[in-house]
């Protein structure tokens, strides 16, 4: 095991896959000598050269589109969109092209591409640099969507995403880049579509994603001292979703709470909550609750920013409320 930050775990995944498979290449802005806006690709240009680490002008549409074209013509591109917020400029190529090609062409094409993008709020970059837009992509059939919460998960999942023959949207929370965690040595992968129970408990199931997993675990420790035993389930992959693990947990605890940073309205938490109530209705002792970001753009002011997204306090309070304590 090594204790390394998330950004390094991601870099290691990219490096190992590029070493393993010569058709894997990187495409994005400032990813070469500069090492990427968040330093994730640092050193890869020196190691692999300009034909494997390909820099582009600021052109999100063609970054995504060229990745699609390269993927159907025999390569395995890993494109980087500098901030998830900028993916809006690439939406046609992701939604109308990448997601649909295989299906529309009757199974003729395969689109083995990964688009990586940093998401999330918490460091005052304001409304256009802090969004979590995963719900959009979860809503497009033909895309897989991954949101890791730890370095170990990020590395294993990214490797699987690269080896997957389908378009994968890989969402990395920018405030998790610096967070350290134990990462196993050697080549390992974590399968897509498999959730992880990060903490076992009996009284309530907390389904949390990305950076909220950390807060959910902190909230669980606090709740434990109050006699509430919380189970934290991290889906890791949003599409395809490991609903079975979530439902098995809810059947044991009878209470479910879904936590995500993205705004509440139309967020992916609504999908998970709907599935739980539909499939585990007769096991529920309370309505499925959602603890999410506020339905506002992320404000710049620190005080307001911290109100706009969930935190440990709010998660603990939400759980207590649902249990009626």
């Amino acid at each position: 095991m090594s204790l390394i930050p998330c950004s390094q775990a991601i870099r290691d995944a990219l490096r190992e896959e590029m070493q393993r498979d010569p058709t894997v290449f990187l495409l994005g802005e400032d990813i070469g000598k500069h090492g990427g806006a968040f330093g994730v690709t640092r050193g890869l240009f020196d190691e692999f050269g300009p034909e494997r680490v390909i820099e582009t002008p600021i052109s999100e549409a063609v970054i995504a589109g060229a990745a699609v074209g390269a993927a159907i013509a025999g390569c395995r591109p890993v494109a980087e969109i500098m901030y998830m917020d900028f993916v809006t400029l690439a939406m046609d190529q992701i939604v109308n092209q990448a997601a649909k090609m295989r299906y529309m062409f009757g199974g003729k094409a395969k689109v083995p591409l990964v688009i990586r993008m940093p998401s999330g709020a918490g460091r005052g970059n304001a409304a256009q640099h802090m969004q979590s837009l995963e719900a959009w992509f979860c809503h497009v059939p033909g895309l897989k969507v991954v949101m890791p919460s730890t370095p170990a998960d990020a590395k294993g999942l990214l490797k699987s995403a690269i080896r997957d023959d389908n378009p994968v949207i890989f969402i990395e929370h920018k405030l998790l880049y610096a967070v350290k965690g134990d990462v196993p040595e050697g080549d390992y992968t974590i399968p897509l579509g498999k959730a992880d129970v990060k903490r076992a408990g009996q009284d309530v199931t907390i389904v949390a994603t990305s950076r909220m997993v950390q807060f959910a675990l902190e909230a669980s420790d606090r709740l434990a001292s109050e006699g509430i035993s919380a189970e934290v389930v991290d889906p890791r992959t949003l599409v395809p979703l490991d609903l079975e693990t979530i439902l098995a947990s809810v059947r044991r605890t009878h209470v479910a709470v879904v936590v995500h940073e993205a705004p509440r309205r139309g967020g992916y938490g609504a999908e998970i909550a709907a599935e739980i109530q539909e499939q585990a209705f007769d096991w529920l002792d309370a309505p499925v609750a959602r603890i999410c970001g506020e339905d506002v753009p992320i404000p710049f002011s620190k005080a307001l920013e911290s109100l706009a997204i969930p935190d440990t306090d709010r998660i603990a309070a939400g759980v207590r409320h649902v249990l009626g304590r």
């Binding site: 109050e226 529920l284 309370a286 939400g318 409320h321």
Partner: protein, 438 residues
């Protein structure tokens, strides 16, 4: 600050309580500690005190309804105070009190559970269906804002199983599926079990409308459960013998005179019996025993429970270490215990425990009967009336006062001969009481 009024835990085995009577109504102002209601458990009736001061904003459980321990019964709050959700001591301060921020905590549950539909969770409903529990019997539970949740139903199932007529395993399922009731005093199966046939073809004769419906809850429910359990599990055998009580009656009169003025002048026959039986038990300790699992625990103390008939039903307060107490002390204690029991004011410790029971139906002109053992005890002595009867002494007939003693014992714990010897001993003391009662 709002206060929740919840069903208190009043005894170690208590799982639910009955609201006998509300002493206040919604809108009344109450002080902290003020009695709000009379509640009844399986053993006692007591007052429910207000946890706080304020206005009774809402009463969730009606008179005559049962609530589980910790179930929400009422809410006390200041007038106009928004009392839902009721904050606990650990709640974090809400940031800036900004109402909009509340949307990141669940908003789904802001209004009280106001209709019957909402009182039980889906899980609770399913369990209620599967277990054949009537949710109307559980109006309030341990979930948020008094919602009945799964664990409440499981608890109720456990306690009603004790008082329900036993059934074969398939009968409840058949009943639930057919929408029929398992409510019948007995079935046609072994041990009176309700069978599938009983459910599917209830008696052709339609039952007439009852004059009065007495629910088998509270004290009645517990009695029913315990009697049925005893009848079901004990290997009960009843021995009877007739004792000459002439000398005993004279002794009683003398004792009563001795007490003098200012005190209760009669020493009741029951007290004398308690004393006699306790001494007999010292000599026959195997009948002063309790059944615990598969162990017979022979007890050191002789704690005699005495059956008292009350409005609510049969209660058995206990005279502890009766063998060590003098007759007047026994009489005095017994009088107090019985008095409290009849008024419904027994304390929990009055009724706990007991190693042997005496039950006297003599005042009702019963001679001999087959009393039911009070589990987990080993035996019970039934006493009939003392009356004047013809008797044979020597070769001639004479008139004597006699009394029938009926001892039911659990053959699992003690055999016939030792039980008979004990009964002989009791009889001997009844016939020749001199000396033991001083």
């Amino acid at each position: 600050m709002a206060s929740e009024v919840r069903m208190p835990q009043l005894g170690l085995t208590m799982t639910e309580g009955l609201i006998v009577h509300w002493l206040v109504a919604e809108g009344d102002h109450v002080a902290k500690g003020q009695p709000l209601a009379e509640i009844e458990t399986d053993k006692i009736v007591t007052d429910l005190e207000s946890p706080g001061e304020g206005i009774v904003r809402e009463i969730m459980v009606k008179e005559g309804d049962i609530a589980a321990v910790a179930g929400l019964l009422a809410v006390i709050a200041a007038l106009g105070e928004d009392y839902s959700p009721v904050p606990g001591p650990e709640h974090p301060p809400s940031p800036d009190g900004n109402p909009k921020v509340a949307s990141s905590t669940p908003t789904a549950e802001s209004s009280p559970l106001d209709t019957e539909r909402h009182r039980a969770s889906p899980y609770a409903r399913r369990l209620a269906r599967d277990e054949g529990i009537d949710l109307d019997k559980i109006p309030s539970g341990t979930g948020a804002r008094g919602r009945v949740v799964g664990s409440d139903v499981l608890a109720a199932a456990k306690s009603t199983r004790r008082s329900q007529t036993p059934s074969t395993p398939v009968a409840p399922r058949i009943a639930a599926e057919a929408g029929k009731s398992l409510d019948m005093p007995a079935g046609s199966g072994p041990g009176g079990r309700i069978t599938r046939e009983d459910v599917e073809q209830p008696a052709a004769v339609s039952r007439p409308t009852p004059l009065e419906v007495v629910p088998m809850t509270g004290v009645r429910g517990v009695i029913a459960a315990r009697m049925a359990e005893s009848a079901r599990t004990a290997a009960a055998v009843t021995l009877t013998t007739e004792a000459d009580a002439t000398d005993l009656a004279e002794l009683r009169d003398r004792l009563s005179d001795r007490r003098g003025e200012g005190e209760q002048t009669r020493v009741p026959f029951d007290a004398i019996l308690v004393k006699i039986v306790s001494i007999a038990l010292r000599q026959h300790p195997r009948l002063n025993a309790l059944l615990a699992g598969d162990e017979i625990q022979v007890m050191r103390d002789v704690d005699i429970a005495v059956a008292v008939d009350t409005e609510r039903g049969l209660l058995t307060p206990v005279v502890r270490k009766a063998d060590t107490k003098g007759i007047f002390q026994v009489a005095g204690e017994l009088a107090e215990l019985a008095g409290r029991a009849r008024l419904g004011k027994s304390q929990p410790e009055d009724l706990e425990g007991g190693t042997f029971t005496i039950t006297n139906l003599g005042m009702h002109e019963i001679d001999a009967f087959t009393p039911i053992i009070n589990p987990p005890q080993c035996a019970v002595l039934g006493v009939g009336r003392i009356c004047t009867r013809p008797a044979v002494r020597g070769d001639g007939l004479c008139i004597r006062k006699t009394v029938w003693l009926s001892l039911t014992f659990d053959h699992r714990m003690v055999d016939g001969a030792p039980a008979a010897r004990f009964l002989q001993c009791v009889r001997q003391y009844v016939e020749q009481p001199g000396g033991i009662l001083d």
